[in-house]
Symmetry: D3
Subunit: 237 residues, 6 copies
């Protein structure tokens, strides 16, 4: 039995609020239950130095948790003077995932930077970030087309992400903090709306897991991700 | 004529939403028009090293803008590896102001840390932060009393803050970004509900201002601050 | 009664020694009693990136205290690896004040950087810095004219700064350390020689202060600043 | 056809040289073809602050590439002043994997720190690091038992790691740099000698991969990992 | 012929002004011609962590140049966020030299920190620093004895330092900037008043130097250092 | 009697293994007994900004110890976020020495960066680094000539370095750690194969040393350095 009473494969209520703030070219508040992340996409002319002259665009991301997004306050990274390993790992994952959704050649020499700031955390902040960031990215691309910056739509397919894990011996979808902190295995899956995989990151937090459990977790993830694509589509409609 | 059609002394609609997030002991979203700041107060046992053994508490603050709170994206301070001078200046101001509202002896050897994170900026983020942070502080103090951490209420008086300035030659209250970026003089005033001053910071951005103009700005500030105290009281009722 | 026997409005003996060091284009040792600050102005061709192409110049400042300028040694900021909030706040204030004294268009695309290094501290280091830096700035401008870098004098008016405060219930001018550390209110006022205000920064260190006290402090400041302008003029004669 | 002429599932020649340096409690040079990593395990009394008083030990890791381990020189992280995201991600992976091999309670309040320094890189440095670090860890545990620091052997099972990927459309094992830089999918698998999974990290570098391809990659990884366990056993014999 | 008209072995006029600032336990302005360094010695109870419990004291030093101590302004290290290699090298040299002058056991578990801040530079700042710092150290030791912190005088012997070099083919003493910047060899010698060596650091800036030239430079250094000891003695008399 | 049974002037067995790694333009493992340093020379087009437009090349160096190169583990500098003073001092010494071996004009606007990474430390790592780095430098220059980057050989003469010191009252050559940690005087000498001096750095760790002892140390150094030049020549043959 899950703390929330959800079934093993049931994800939390997910909402995607577009235009959440007024300045960004794409601004989406994504909520997976009590997990709330603000995803702001910024369009900038030009690309980083290592990409110059290739006629291709770039997509990057930054991730941060507000210090009191969590049960106990964590130090502010700006004040400590560096971003932690977890932060860097997550923002690299978000950026890689978003780049897999876009034809960088069609983007031209432009950069889209997506900021994912966690307002409130209750498990699954990185997968919520990716799911929301993709919608903010679409809004930014629409903005670019409306301004004549882009001629064709560089979006190859939507992407979404879901966490799955083994909680009390049972594979479950979309773990909230209470489950996550006790889970034996924790896995994040990033998928395209066409059912292909972008990222699979599974970690045994307690006991190692079997090849069969990996298979089960992948199945449950695929199922939940289908729902997320429907929610994204509805939000963009 | 002000861009918003407001009169010279008219402040923007101000809302204070308590319990905006679920983890912090005090959590207030403060809005001054389009300026939105999330103020989270965290209660921690103990005090910083330099305060130890004095039987007194401590209140401190951190301030940050989300990178895309503004018209164009600004670098994330965590990623640059240090907080800028403006950030440090503002969070020192917020902390000093809050400490002036509280009898630190009655707080015991406990620390309250208030995080002010600007979700959306349209001028006056530091004064909105102080005004919201004071309400979050009150909620944190109430929490402490409910838990038996405090015996008496250490709050001496509410505080609130307002920006005033000279815009197109006229002293006006609560400048929004459009006004702020053109103002000749910019002043931030922090006041107690008993009508005394905590901080006055006036800066000539363009032409120097006269002693008389300082007087006028102080008058207009006092008037607007009275309104803010009413709004705080209503929010806490 | 003040520790020094001074009257409430009496400032300390102030001296301005020009050409204190031999390399800088302007080099002034300013002394307010035991407070001694070396202000070196450096002229550099070009402007920072954000100012380029506007045909205007730039003035900036850096402030530092020698580690043992004070009663007890404070950590060297270069060794800690970052400048503290107080330092950044002060050098921002100095730079803003100096820029208000100069017509940046007449400066052309040149930068003047003023370094204010506190050799010995006894209260009022930031206001002494501004007062001395303005003289160093004038010497640097003279140097630029002598070299043909400037055609017209960009100086709009001299500026000077003074600290005032409420000590034992009485508004006094030019607080030394003993007074400063006990003062209930501390205020720094930057004024032009034409009697207009550049900056007003008042802080209640203990009890909040009234609007009337603000008025009295401003009066006492104006009086002391007049004296400072005479001393500057004599030094430049 | 692979550049090296290897079959799809064939791993490179792997050697594990124990006691490679003379000071560390465990010191192993691991070579996967031209990839060479020095893994030094250090035993230290006590545990980090967040682990104190739990009667448990801790295992952590640091990873670094010598600047010229690669085709072109990369900046030295010590000189740039911070470790990059890739480095942090890898050393977090190594440490998590090693902790999964050990019963931390049996380790007592001791720390083992494993340094993985890449002398020469030709693909697969993180998986080579884990494979070699596990042997260095075993040597460090043996040292601890010989010194009477440990009463029982805390090793639960050996672990090893292998990279697999899709190169020119075909799933292959143990990619060298030439393959890695062109691979469409890159996956790192950490397994126990008992055939269970510790970590699975798959990333689509080019085209997304299917659920079936994930399955194939897992199969090929399992096969190669079995060989690695034999090589580890031989080295420890 | 030297630019100053000095003979090869002639040092510049050297002055040592004690009690130059009022807060430090030892405060000496040392001048070697136009080179001016303020040496402040601070006495602190206790020793750094790595020295604790040995019943011995510690002496350390920090060195810095004011940004405009030189012909062209150099960046402020506090603002760049780190001390450069040259600075660290010099302050390590000063500290080692001072420790060689003192019996650390007689110092008890106390620390003396000497800050050497270069007000104006014209060559030889590190040797001037050592020469002046030793006098400041003596004053700090006298202070400690007067306060009853020390029972015996821990000073073993005075130390002084001098730069020598090969300028236009001729070994000369106490190079000023004009000579230093053209010198083929630059050597710094730290000696005790008893005629023994603490440090010898010779560097070929242009052509390598012979073993015979090393000998000549040592002779000329010894001669100049004898003068410095006389000047120190006179200053302390 | 020395711990190793060596005579006073006897250096340890020295080996120079060229092409130790496969990517660098020059790659030498240098061993002085148990001290092992990997010296990798990298050729890069262009020069640092401060050298541009002079038609001259640049040679620089970086030095690092693997954390467990020593008896007890030292912190990784990349992880602490800055290089220590000792590291900066050593890499400045290596770079200065290498530059003295080369005619920078003949190098053209190219940079050679030599990385010296200490794999295992047993005293004398900086002198071993210089001795090995010079061979790596020669290999890099040969590479540059073979690629047509250089027309003439810019090498002026080989350089080598040796540590000497006073151990138990006796001047000895090439101190290993056991001797080094007890030595009263420690001296590093960098010499050209033509018998001239590049650097002499002598430090009294315990008792000050006499001018005569300096002479004896120089003699013993010269003798050992002759041997090192023979070993370099043999390695390059």
């Amino acid at each position: 039995m899950r703390p929330s009473g959800r079934t093993a494969s049931q994800i939390r209520p997910v909402t995607l609020t577009r235009n959440y703030t007024c300045h960004a070219e794409g601004s989406v508040l994504v909520e997976f239950g009590n997990t709330k992340v603000l995803c702001n996409a910024t369009v900038e002319e030009g690309v980083p130095r290592f990409m110059k002259g290739q006629g291709k665009g770039w997509i990057t991301a930054e991730y941060s948790m507000l210090p009191r997004a969590t049960h106990t306050r964590s130090d502010r990274e700006a004040s400590r003077g560096k971003q932690g390993g977890r932060t860097l790992e997550i923002q690299r994952l978000i950026a890689r995932s978003l780049r897999a959704a876009v034809d960088l050649k069609l983007l031209g020499e432009n950069t889209i930077m997506v900021d994912c700031d966690v307002i409130q955390a209750d498990g699954g902040t990185r997968t919520a970030s990716i799911t929301g960031a993709c919608v903010a990215l679409v809004d930014a691309l629409t903005y670019m087309r409306s301004k004549g910056i882009l001629k064709a739509n560089p979006l190859k397919h939507m992407i979404a992400a879901l966490s799955v894990g083994i909680y009390q011996g049972v594979p479950v979808a979309d773990l909230e903090y209470l489950e996550d902190s006790e889970a034996e295995t924790d896995m994040n899956v990033v998928m395209t709306e066409t059912g292909k995989l972008i990222e699979v990151q599974g970690t045994a937090e307690g006991e190692p897991f079997s090849f069969e459990e990996l298979q089960e977790l992948m199945d449950i993830a695929k199922h939940g991700l289908r729902e997320l694509f429907d929610i994204q589509k509805a939000a963009l409609a």
